[in-house]
């Protein structure tokens, strides 16, 4: 009897030890799940209805620019889109709750921005398209500025205004020499070489270029009377190697003097654009600087300095910079009265946030308390990889809506969107 008991106990002991060893081995070789960090965000304060504009088409859409504009001047806002996958600039119009599509041109090589202006003074809106020529970093001479001349019912006639330059990112109109016609400021982004130009309108669609600055990485060239002296000045953001916002003060005759409005020694800040707005509504032209371009790495991570700066115009070419948001991989900003309280709020989108966490938003808005104190509130986390944003009233409710475009050039591809609108809801 005893020998049976001893054998049984020894057997149990052996089983226990063997089981323990097995469990330990399994556990040691079974990777545990890494806990995801989720940001602490306040709940969304506004209600939005999300809608896709146009057909998604590609499984990995690439949109470079969206703008809410009244292109046909019918009183209802349209959405102007640059789509490099289709080599096209497209206007989406609202038609009975749906969106109709008009392709303005479909032979453009990576259109980066489309600017509306009446360049020939015939009282309709022409389109000046900045062609990158290559979406990827390149020093090749592949940029171009193309005019789509609005010929009414005959459609658009294509004219090349500037050729044989590096990648062109933006062009903005203004009469810089005071001769009554429309000249153009141009950002030639390039890669390791680039420049900022202004093109003097010589009539008959001929333009003479003048170099304002020779540095790579100019993204946008907003035009405004920054110093209130009655003529139009040009601002730009330099984002390659240096991180600077510059302005070129016009003497009224097309002569320019440079001012540094913002500068950072952080070469990795990632300036991603420059948006003209009068954020504090004091009658002068301020600027928004979204920062968070981290495309230089194959694998990216949101950085603590990403976000948005408000460059407040204090007069006399003095601009105070205020960080109004910290938001991972901020790529674009737009100002609008999103809560219809009379002040200007800001919408931000993120291109390469930490998308492994589904809670990380791709669109946020900054609620202005009326004294330019901003609170960051989420709008959505789907789609991801948003590169461009615009604000404007699309549904006619008096509150600005948000439209954003996706540039899906990096994984993950689980939340894909082409042109997405968030329409304000009561």
């Amino acid at each position: 009897m005893r020998s049976y008991l001893v054998t049984g106990l020894l057997f149990l002991l052996a089983c226990g030890i063997a089981g323990g060893v097995f469990v330990a081995w399994r556990y040691a070789h079974n990777p545990v799940k890494y806990p995801q960090e989720t940001p602490e965000l306040l709940p969304a304060a506004l209600k939005w209805k999300k809608t896709e504009i146009g057909k998604t088409g590609s499984p990995r859409p690439r949109i470079t620019n969206v703008q809410i504009v009244d292109f046909d001047r019918d009183g209802a806002n349209d959405v102007l889109v640059c789509d490099p996958q289709r080599n096209a600039v497209i206007c989406y119009r609202q038609a009975g709750g749906d969106w109709s599509e008009q392709v303005l041109a479909n032979d453009l090589v990576v259109p980066a921005h489309a600017t509306l202006t009446d360049i020939d003074g015939d009282d309709d809106l022409d389109v000046v398209v900045s062609e990158l020529g290559d979406i990827w970093p390149s020093d090749e001479i592949v940029g171009r500025l193309v005019l789509l001349e609005n010929r009414g019912s005959e459609g658009f006639q294509r004219r090349v205004l500037l050729d044989a330059v590096r990648r062109v990112a933006d062009a903005q109109p203004g009469d810089f020499d005071g001769d009554g016609d429309v000249d153009l400021a141009v950002a030639v982004f390039g890669y390791s070489r680039g420049e900022v130009l202004w093109l003097e309108n010589r009539g008959d669609y001929r333009f003479r270029e003048h170099r304002l600055w020779s540095r790579p990485g100019a993204i946008h060239v907003p035009v405004a009377d920054f110093d209130g002296d009655g003529d139009l000045d040009i601002a730009t953001v330099i984002s390659q190697d240096d991180e600077q916002v510059l302005a070129f003060e016009n003497n009224g005759k097309g002569g320019f003097q440079r001012h540094v409005l913002f500068s950072s020694v952080n070469y990795d800040l990632g300036s991603a654009g420059l948006v003209l707005t009068d954020l504090d509504q004091d009658g002068d032209a301020d600027l928004l600087l979204p920062a968070g371009d981290n495309l230089e790495e194959n694998y990216t991570w949101p950085q603590p300095y990403h976000g948005c700066f408000w460059l407040e115009n204090k007069g006399g070419w003095k601009f105070d910079s205020h960080r109004i948001a910290t938001f991972g991989a901020t790529y674009a900003a737009a100002a609008g009265d999103l809560d219809a309280d009379g002040d200007l709020d800001v919408a931000l989108v993120s291109l390469l946030n930490d998308w492994s966490s589904p809670a990380n938003p791709s669109v946020v808005w900054l609620e202005n308390d009326g004294r330019q104190n901003f609170q960051l509130l989420p709008v959505d986390s789907n789609p991801t990889h948003l590169v461009t944003v615009s604000c404007g009233d699309l549904n006619g409710d008096g509150r600005d809506d948000i439209v954003a475009g996706g540039l899906h050039v990096r994984p993950p591809y689980d939340r894909v969107g082409r042109v997405t609108a968030w329409l304000s809801q009561p």
Partner: protein
């Protein structure tokens, strides 16, 4: 208690102790952080999984290698955990501590990263690239003085560390010390007179000091640089190459095979990469190789996919034309080459069109002239003034009324120091296009310079 009861109690006690020991081990043992394998291709996933399975959790070097693997494939938080574990297991390993710093750097945990780099340096890590990383981190913290110190430290360790010199030069410009730029970058300009970034910095420094003529001269040199490399993160994505797996690895192997003239093998390797992960740049390489191997259908299939993803582009249209030509679809090929030319000047497509129109001399000549113009622009992009000038000259002999060709000829002559011929070329350009602003500006710069004695302004090969 009987003897057997006592024995039984001892056994129970032993089992309990073993159980408690095992439980304590489970709680305190290091854990391998899991990753989302859907982010990588299947081959890389297999390598990572094998690495995880082969881990001995008490060995720091195993944690280091897993950290590098994770870092190489973008699993940054997980890489940080592994690097931290490696550094904690082997606190005197400078490599482990530095790797931890790199992961913290990538995650934007800047203060911690700076601390760890300094710790690694204290342990004896002395490479100049480490000081450059420290300096860049200090810049990201907007600590300009500390960054300058680290850049200078890097240059003391390795005076050929161009990224340190260029970054330091920029910092000096930003802090209104333009006059100090020249000593920092002089060495690199002496080694390579048209070195891009140093020449660019010199131009900006001269401009800040009010010497616009000198600034223009430096800018021309910077514009015509032979090569340019940016600052690259030495321990970031490049670590993937050490893993010898994944799509990028096979593309690298394919490129090496192509360089060795093994085009069949190269095509096979790049297609293998494409089966692991789609990338339009790889697909264009694969299509080009398929064409070389006379497999037009493979090429067309890949080019169709590229166009769907990235839109029409001059290069893809040209390659499509080549594929159609191999299939004897000449009209389709002409359409494709014409599209390539319409989208952008493309020398290869122009050459093809010129060949196609050999029976029509005027059309052939026009395409040849444009081909040569595009060849010249390519040479310009390569920073090669001699070939730029040669191609533009030939192009202008065929079609003299090309303002763009005259402009680039002027630019090439200018960088060659032939101001007289450059001036003539700009003047020709302006005769054809009086609104050519760049030619006008360049001419103004040349006109403001005194005539250079002994200037070689032979017009031996200039078009008339």
């Amino acid at each position: 208690m009987s003897r057997w009861q006592r024995r039984f109690a001892v056994l129970i006690g032993v089992e309990l102790a073993l159980g408690l020991g095992a439980a304590a081990y489970f709680v305190t043992r290091p854990k391998i952080p899991a990753v989302d394998f859907s982010q990588v291709d299947i081959e890389a996933a297999a390598v990572i999984m094998a690495h995880q399975q082969g881990m001995t959790l008490s060995r720091g070097e195993h944690w280091q290698s897993l950290a590098r693997l994770y870092l190489g494939f973008g699993y940054l938080p997980q890489a940080e955990i592994c690097a931290r574990q490696a550094a904690e297991l082997d606190p005197n390993s400078k490599d482990a501590v530095y790797l931890w710093a790199v992961t913290l750097d990538r995650l934007g945990r800047l203060d911690e990263a700076v601390d760890k780099i300094k710790q690694a340096q204290a342990l004896g890590l002395g490479a100049a690239s480490v000081s450059v990383r420290l300096a860049r981190l200090e810049l990201r913290r907007e600590a300009a003085d500390e960054a300058e110190q680290a850049f200078r430290q890097a240059l003391e360790k390795d005076e050929d560390q161009m990224s340190a010199a260029v970054s330091l030069g920029r910092l000096l410009l930003l802090t209104d010390r333009a006059a100090e730029v020249e000593p920092v970058v002089r060495r690199f300009i002496e080694q390579e007179p048209r070195s891009h970034a140093p020449c660019q910095l010199m131009a900006w420094a001269e401009r800040e000091q009010g010497r616009s003529q000198a600034a223009e001269d430096w800018l021309v040199k910077a514009e015509w640089r032979p090569s340019y490399s940016r600052f690259t993160d030495p321990l970031a994505d490049t670590e993937r190459w050490g893993a010898s797996c994944g799509a990028l690895w096979w593309v690298t192997q394919g490129r090496a095979a192509e360089a060795a003239g093994k085009e069949d093998e190269a095509a096979h390797l790049i297609q293998r990469a494409l089966t692991l992960g789609w990338d339009e740049k790889f697909a264009i390489e694969a299509a080009t190789l398929s064409l070389k191997n006379e497999q037009p259908r493979d090429a067309l299939s890949m080019l169709r996919h590229v166009t769907n993803v990235a839109g029409h582009a001059p290069q893809t249209s040209f390659l499509r034309g080549e594929a159609n030509l191999i299939q004897r679809k000449t009209n389709s090929a002409i359409d494709d080459w014409s599209e390539s030319v319409r989208l952008r000047e493309n020398q290869a497509a122009e050459r093809r069109l010129a060949q196609t129109y050999r029976q029509q001399p005027e059309v052939e000549q026009e395409h040849l002239a444009k081909m040569l113009l595009a060849t010249g622009i390519d040479a310009c992009e390569e920073g090669d003034p001699e070939n730029t000038a040669a191609a533009m000259t030939e192009s202008l002999k065929l079609e003299p009324e090309q303002s763009m060709a005259w402009y680039f000829l002027g630019e090439a002559r200018r960088v060659q120091g032939k101001d007289g011929p450059a001036r003539e070329a700009y003047q020709h350009c302006l005769e054809i296009d009086p609104d050519h602003g760049r030619a006008r500006e360049a001419l103004a710069v040349l006109d403001s310079k005194p005539e250079t004695a002994g200037e070689s302004d032979t017009a031996e090969s200039e078009p008339q």
